[in-house]
């Protein structure tokens, strides 16, 4: 198809590089330098989507980030799908595939269009809230339908092939926006040697100058832009980021920039390149030079394709060489709107009329228009547009001085394009992100940034300074202020000479009147993306909404990805009018990050797949993998869970591992247990305060089990601590609790007992820990060491230093299985060596590796608890039947002592940990099952506690369980019943949790 709206020359496009693209399945051509929007307009594509609520056909309105309608689904393949891309921001590339996100089944024939026609009553403002409330049960149904019809785009169902980066940046000055003000600010700061980041959402720097016919120092504006960029490029500490939208301005000058590195090249990044980067910037100073968005006028059917912003018309003509129509009517409240007519005329197309809402405008532009022979209708407005999928004509009528009513006869003009300008709205979004409220300025009819606690400056159109020379001067000034604060000496930057144009004052007009009342008039759209009309806002006000924040939520004004870029000011003004208040009294809503949508890819960066979360490995991990281990996540650690042999089920493997350990010898990689080295003359005292039991008399060479409680007296960790020297201990913690315990010790030391001379150091990773357990463990150890490991010389709960397989080791004779057991610790660099030597030597004993599951079973057979499994923060030592581990008589108190003495903690019927034997020994209770004393009780049955640990014990040939039961310790022999979700009720008898070897003879041999 030919580019019927493309001019033969002009614009910043490269006509020698045609690019083909697809839109809704049809193929078109544009040029290098086009945006998708300019290429669509060049090809005469009018309808680019269907509206959110009423499903009305919509066309391109703007030329930048403020575009409300042309929101595209991009991607040639499933894997490269991206929703919600503005066609006005997407550069064209060869082979681009796009489709409208709205419009089901297609934008041209939309079944929702029928709904939309009656939509005024079907979907009034507050639709979501009303639907959600009446009746709530229908919400799911409505939502499905609405979401599909509204077409919010979709993400890919496949793996995204691209790489996304997150980058931390630091700078003296971050300049947001590279228009005249931003370029001048960046140049001023950079010349003085400041570290500068300049970010702009456009593909090229220059901002408004890219589509301007102005001259600077007698040269085209583009030349000044080019020279400035060249100079900036020469500075080492300047980072220039085109195609980079500053999306969020957070507290303490932390800003995020979404840079699209290759989105302009293809729908997937070239090999080895990042597609997008999310820059996380800490800036000492921020200069916001974000410019202004032109404000559209609100009039009847102002959403019909062909209704555009006046400045956007100029931009398409001047920057892209595209005239988006044939016959233009301009409606303006200010002198700026005239430029669209001049550009249109210069492009050789017909200007039907300039409708100026002011009664007697006097600026130079008016005179120029008259001089060019253009028809200027003053004191009038376009009150309504005709047409459905494209403007076919307009209704023009005279209006009153204040713009509140139509004062005369309506006449009809033929036109296919209406360019409107209601003045300019400074882009204050970022300025508002940190909570700063914008301030209304009557002289420019716009909100400007309010006060801030951030180190923030503003320059140019964001301050309502709309002349190029003025913007540049403000940019230089902002740069100098930042330099002064930074203590840097500025070097002069000149303001180039511009041609001054005498302007008349603009008219405040936020809602063009119609001959009919607002509610009866054709829809007058305020927020095109969210289908909010003037009538809807007035209705909300009539329904009693008085706060602009409530009106926003009720009508959806400025919601979602739009963030009120075009509609907010008009909406607030209409609200103010309906409420009989002024605009400053009504105020603005709060703008929030993000300014425009950011892809999930950029937010996630490389924290995905293998790198989603760190996986921690022990020194023996490779061995475990080679030997077929299944792994369990414990904290971030990958621990062997069990080691199935070929063909074995999990239970078969566990049975084998359990039996082997009790009959010969098993081995566990216990390296993941937390280990904390404690040194200092008060180490022993400190232990006595953080553990519940006594440490004063633990001799060098001895080990002791300890319980650790919070202030509330509840157990939160446990482990064995050994006395290595008079002032030296090594504490072990649970695998998952290591960091918490370490912080706990530091917390108490630093805040409560700084006078105690003690230092803590984490040595978890330093030691490889391997536990050999079982009747043959001593023989195995003896064969690998010269040390005397006999029962006489190496008793239970002792530790010894020795060499094991040639490696210096500390060996602890402690047991979590109830078997004769040795925990061998060597520097982790030599862990695998020792591990392998143990297997070489242990082959004759059938040394059997086991994982966490067998460890759990073996300890449960002995009734040993696991903190965090058998405890849940509500269990104190006495509840566990472990009062023996509480030394109430210690001279200094210990953490939890008072907590566990509280009234509720000494109740008789607290839930207490007991053993449970099912009446049918073959049934294994599910962990988490809730017990009741009376299975016949009416529902809800009084629950008496849950199963915390439950296993099949191959050694005992039956199931075993531990659980909390109300008053359980005094209910030995009584029955508890566990009604399950599947209808079964499992009967169990309360017993001691020590199922095996109650006297502890096996570990003490």
């Amino acid at each position: 198809m030919s580019q019927k709206n493309r001019l033969p020359s002009g614009g910043r496009i490269n006509r020698s590089k045609p690019l083909s693209f697809a839109y809704n399945g049809k193929h078109f051509q544009g040029f290098e330098g086009d945006t998708l929007a300019s290429a669509m307009l060049a090809n005469g594509i009018d309808v680019v989507g269907r509206s959110f609520k009423y499903s009305r056909p919509r066309g391109i309105v703007a030329a930048g980030a403020e575009e409300p309608n042309a929101i595209m689904q991009l991607g040639a393949t499933e894997a490269t799908q991206i929703p919600n891309v503005r066609a006005t921001q997407q550069e064209l590339y060869e082979g681009l595939v796009s489709g409208a996100v709205n419009g089901w089944p297609s934008v041209d024939t939309d079944v929702m269009g029928l709904v939309g026609k009656v939509g005024g009553t079907m979907m009034p403002p507050g639709f979501y809230y009303k639907t959600f409330m009446f009746p709530q049960s229908m919400w799911g149904t409505y939502e499905k339908f609405i979401r599909k019809a509204a077409g919010l785009g979709r993400s890919s169902l496949e793996h995204d092939p691209d790489t996304y980066e997150k980058v931390n940046q630091f700078c003296d000055v971050l300049v947001v926006g590279a228009g005249p003000a931003g370029l001048a600010a960046a140049l001023t700061a950079a010349r003085a040697g400041a570290r500068v980041i300049l970010a702009d959402e456009q593909s090229e720097f220059g901002g408004s100058l890219l589509s301007s016919k102005e001259t600077l120092d007698g040269e085209p504006a583009a030349a000044w832009v080019k020279n400035t960029v060249v100079e900036l490029t020469s500075y080492r500490d300047v980072l220039l980021l085109p195609r980079a939208t500053v999306n969020g301005y957070h507290d303490h000058n932390f800003l995020t920039i979404h840079e699209r590195c290759t989105d302009h090249i293809a729908d997937s990044a070239p090999l080895g390149q990042a597609r997008q980067r999310l820059h996380r910037v800490r800036a000492k100073w921020v200069v916001l030079a974000t410019g202004a968005h032109e404000r559209p006028l609100v009039f009847g059917n102002n959403d019909v394709p062909g209704s555009m912003l006046a400045s956007a018309v100029s931009t398409y003509i001047n920057r892209y060489g595209v005239v988006p129509g044939s016959e233009l009517v301009v409606m303006t409240t200010n002198d700026g709107g005239y430029q669209a007519a001049f550009d249109w005329l210069a492009a050789g197309r017909k200007v039907v009329a300039i409708v100026d809402t002011r009664q007697n405008p006097q600026g130079e532009c008016v005179a120029k228009a008259v001089g060019l022979g253009l028809r200027v209708i003053t004191g009038a407005a376009v009150i309504e547009v005709f047409g459905t999928k494209r403007v076919s004509g307009v209704a023009v009528a005279p209006i009153s001085d204040d713009g509140s009513r139509v004062t005369g006869a309506v006449s009809r003009l033929s036109a296919d394009t209406v360019a409107s300008s209601g003045g300019w709205s400074p882009v204050v979004h970022l300025a508002g992100h940190t909570g700063s409220r914008p301030i209304w300025r009557e002289d420019i009819l716009g909100f400007v940034p309010g006060e801030t606690v951030e180190k923030r400056l503003t320059a140019g159109a964001i301050n309502g300074e709309y002349t190029t020379a003025g913007a540049i001067a403000q940019g230089i000034d902002a740069g100098r202020k930042a330099l002064a604060e930074l203590g840097k000496k500025p070097i002069d930057v000149n303001v180039p000479a511009t041609v001054h144009v005498e302007l008349d004052s603009p008219m405040a007009l936020f809602h063009v009147p119609h001959t009919k009342r607002t509610a009866q008039a054709p829809k007058q759209f305020v927020d095109l993306q969210n289908d909010v009309t003037a009538a809807g806002i007035e209705l909300a006000c009539r329904e009693g909404y008085e706060s602009i924040e409530h009106v926003k939520r009720y009508t959806a004004l400025g919601f979602g990805t739009d963030q009120g870029k075009l509609g907010n000011i008009n909406g607030m003004a209409i609200t103010a009018n309906a409420l009989g208040k002024s605009i400053p009294e009504t105020g603005t809503t709060i703008f929030r990050p993000n300014y425009t949508p950011v892809t999930f890819g950029a937010i996630v960066g490389r924290d995905r797949g293998e790198l989603f979360d760190p996986k921690r490995y022990t020194a023996m991990h490779a061995w475990h993998v080679e030997h077929g281990a299944k792994f369990e996540d414990v904290g971030q650690w990958k621990r062997p869970w069990y080691f199935p042999k070929p063909g074995e089920s999990m239970q078969q493997a566990l049975d084998r591992e359990c039996l082997a350990t009790r009959t010969s010898v098993g081995i566990l990689d216990a390296s993941t247990l937390g280990k904390i080295d404690i040194q200092g003359k008060d180490a022993r005292e400190f232990l006595g305060r953080v553990y519940t039991n006594a440490w004063a008399k633990l001799a060098v060479g001895k080990c002791r089990y300890g319980l650790m409680c919070g202030e509330d007296g509840m157990v939160f960790d446990d482990g064995v601590t050994s006395c290595l020297g008079e002032n030296h201990f090594i504490m072990t913690t649970t695998t998952g609790g290591a960091a918490r315990v370490y912080e706990w010790l530091e917390l108490y030391h630093q805040t409560e007992w700084p006078e105690l001379e003690v230092y803590f150091n984490t040595v978890t990773d330093h030691w490889s820990t391997m536990t050999i357990s079982g009747p043959n463990s001593r023989k195995l150890l003896a064969e690998l060491t010269d040390a005397d490991v006999s029962a006489e010389n190496f008793g239970y709960m002792d530790w010894r230093e020795m060499k094991v397989a040639g490696v210096p080791a500390r060996v602890f004779r402690i047991s979590f299985t109830g078997e004769l057991s040795f925990e061998i610790n060597v520097q982790a660099n030599f862990g695998l060596h020792v591990w392998e030597k143990l297997f070489e030597q242990g082959a004759k004993y059938d040394l059997t590796p086991y994982g966490t599951e067998t460890m759990h079973i073996l300890r449960a057979e002995k009734g040993f608890i696991i903190a965090g499994q058998d405890t849940d923060g509500s269990v104190h030592p006495y509840d566990l039947g472990m009062g023996w581990a509480v030394a109430q008589q210690k001279p200094f108190s210990f953490i939890g002592k008072r907590g566990m003495a509280r009234e509720d903690c000494v109740r008789e019927d607290r839930k207490q940990l007991v053993g449970l034997k099912t009446s049918d020994p073959s049934v294994v209770l599910p962990e988490g099952a809730q017990g009741v004393f009376d299975p016949g009780a009416p529902i809800p049955m009084p629950m008496v506690g849950h199963i915390t640990s439950s296993y099949w014990s191959a050694n005992l040939g039956r199931s075993i369980a531990m659980g909390l039961v109300k008053g359980g310790l005094s209910r030995m022999g009584e029955k508890v019943y566990y009604p399950l979700a599947d209808g079964r009720v499992i009967e169990a008898e309360i017993c001691s949790p020590v199922f095996l070897d109650p006297k502890g003879e096996r570990q003490n041999v």
């Binding site: 390149q273 490389r606 996986k615 008079e726 230093e801 490696v807």
Partner: protein, 217 residues
């Protein structure tokens, strides 16, 4: 072997040479030597090397305790870096400031026990010296794009005015931590924990992809 009845137990943890024990660094399983033979440092923006099997000692002592600090410096034969975020390098010995009362030292693993013994002999008072050699490793990074790669990994300003050669920070590295020291204009070293070494290695590979990664061994 030391006397078990000392106030603090120390032990020569390194097997004697004749024991024929192979030591394995945290990245042993990666096979860096084989990778090194297939990569070209000249073409890479980031060049990686694991300095495994070093001795790592953590000294905790109050910086206000002038007598102990003095003794420590005598034993070390090097000044302790007392100003925050600084380091001292003297031959094989590197001392990194970690916190107001903490220093991380690296030295050949075979010299650790001797140094520990010297400390126990000479230092009298409240301090701790802990051997962490098995739990830590060092990644040396160099190359024209090392700073760019690190910018993706740590939230610290790496500009040479803010992060000069010799500066040390203990900081977040991706989702774990590292002690980062600048060793040259385009050279850094990371001290990382053994169990997280594989994660950081995977991260560095991924984050270096766009610059090209080479391995030295």
């Amino acid at each position: 072997m030391s006397d078990i009845n000392h106030a603090v137990a120390i032990m020569d943890q390194v097997p004697s040479a004749d024991a024929e024990v192979r030591g394995e660094s945290p990245l042993h399983h990666v096979g860096l030597a084989a990778i090194a033979s297939q990569t070209l440092p000249q073409a890479a923006g980031v060049i990686f090397r694991e300095l495994g099997l070093l001795g790592h000692l953590t000294l905790r002592v109050s910086a206000d305790n002038a007598a102990l600090i003095k003794t420590a410096q005598t034993v070390l034969g090097a000044p302790l870096p007392l100003s925050p975020l600084s380091s001292v390098q003297q031959g094989d010995l590197v001392i990194r400031w970690i916190s107001p009362d903490e220093w991380l030292m690296t030295l050949p693993n075979t010299q650790v026990f001797e140094l520990e013994s010297q400390f126990r002999e000479k230092m009298d008072g409240h301090y701790s010296l802990v051997n962490g050699s098995g739990g830590l490793t060092v990644f040396a990074l160099r190359g024209a794009r090392v700073v760019d790669m690190l910018k993706k990994s740590i939230p610290v300003d790496l500009h040479d005015t803010e992060f000069p050669v010799g500066k040390v920070v203990s900081t977040v590295f991706a989702k774990t931590g590292a002690v980062v020291r600048r060793t040259g204009e385009t050279e850094f070293e990371l001290v990382v924990r053994r169990s997280f070494a594989d994660y950081i290695w995977l991260w560095i590979q991924s984050a270096s992809q766009e610059y090209g990664l080479a391995v030295e061994h």
